[in-house]
Amino acid sequence: MTKEVSLEVDLGPLHLKNPIMPASGTFDIRCTLLNQKELNRLGAILPKSIAFQEREGNPGPRICETDCGLLNAVGVPSKGVEYFIKEELPLLKKANNTIIVSLMGNSIPDFCNLAGYLNENKEISALEINLSCPNLNNGILFGVNQDKLYELIFNIKKNTSKPIIAKLSPNVSDIREMALTAKNAGAQIITVANTLMGMAIDVDKQVFRLGNTMGGLSGPAIRPIVVRMIWEIAQSVDIPIIGVGGVYCAENAIEMLLAGASAVQIGSANFFNPHVMLEVIEGIEKYLIKKKYNSIQDIIGLMKN
């Protein structure tokens, strides 16, 4: 295809050749159906959250399909940061030149150690902070408490020179406050949002459908909520936004761009269609050509009050 339009986007310090990348936890470089050329077409590559030390994740069942989406209670199984650097990072490096690494931790020092450890790795373009992690001290998610969120991002910043992306939890009453807090603490970009907490019960057996009792809802069911959150933040906080939640086609991604997102992650839709990210990139390009835009920048945040 001859390139007639530019899909390049700028998210503060982060420049991407196009706005599409996988959502953390839904893509694994060690078992993807995409070949090297296809992987290189993505705007960035973003593996599952990693922890400093090995951890095994939640007991099963971890997955429960729901209407227009799914609940997951995978937890964050991780082989630890050393394994990541030795075994995964080299594969990521070969696949794409923009690598964003998602971090999980269960205390502020835990996150800081991890960020510090990765700081020397030149291949890593930015760090995404998974704020939907419970704080070991009180069990409350960093992403739902403004003070903790501030303290966490502020301290991580002291341990790294890489751009920080705060991945917000949508399980809050006012997402704008969280976005503003993340920005004030030093985050240069925000991702909106992680999964919405949910639950499902098997009424026949009278048991919870997930081993962990509760889980995170993802998929098309949550998309309107995320689009609203992106738009609310875009109207009130001056920070680049990565939208994520329920995108399964170009139209869905364009909706987020119009609402104010500068980039879009695709998660659960990869399960149904492992080629979806490539299809979305092509679809956005076609849309821009059809609507006679020269650049994707022209449609970002077009929807105003």
């Binding site: 078992c31 069942p61 799914l70 098309p220 839709a269 149904f272 492992p274």
Partner: protein
Amino acid sequence: MKIENINIPLMISGNLIENINLNDNYYRMRIKAPQIARKAKPGQFVMLSMWKNKDPFLKRPFSFYGIESDSGTFDILYKEIGKGTQIMAKSKAGDLVELIGPLGNGFKIPENTNNIAVVARGIGIAALMPLILESKKRGIAIYAFLSAQTGNLLLCSNEINSISEKVFYTTDDGSKGAKGMVTNFLQNVLKEEVIDVVYVCGSKRLTKHIRNLQRKYNFLAFVSLEEHMACGIGACKGCVHKTNDGYKRVCKEGPIFPVEEVIFDD
């Protein structure tokens, strides 16, 4: 650098050749998808969808029940239970089937195997059928132990009868064969002769019983496990089962596991 999966699965569309209601809510579907049929091995599976508009949202896992690499087709034996299988049950020849596969590790038949026992409950026979045929081809003697709720749900019994050394049945209602645990028959056989490998699918209870027999009679044993799956390719970490070596992905490290590795909580 280690690349975990040299055999990358394919994502392709197949064509539904036929879809037959066997009895009650059991069906057999034949799908033409030469690239997958040529690579498929006994014990592996496909992720399948025949629905648009992302409803249901996920693909469904099904074992290969028959593999015909020459004609480029494979069969699935399935039970209609919910949203996805209801759509499958209504589908007609000519319909498109979206597929990812072949997936999973598949059965191992160790060299110098003289005889095997297959133990299946209900639809569990689906995964074991290609193994039975492959064993037959290699001249391995087959002992089949089949169990179901009722006699008419003892699937493929004629075919299995014709190629097995011995077949034992149990049904919950006693309508065919005996009542009770089919593995009791296995125990009787084990008292008399050596069985090299036992394969089981379709029942946690039978698998646990085989584990107990294994301790006593010391044979190789493999189980085909099922867990809810989102991706089927190893990416989401959603389909794990507890093993002696931590959680393992049923879609990637499995679905076939040595019986002694698997831990059942209850």
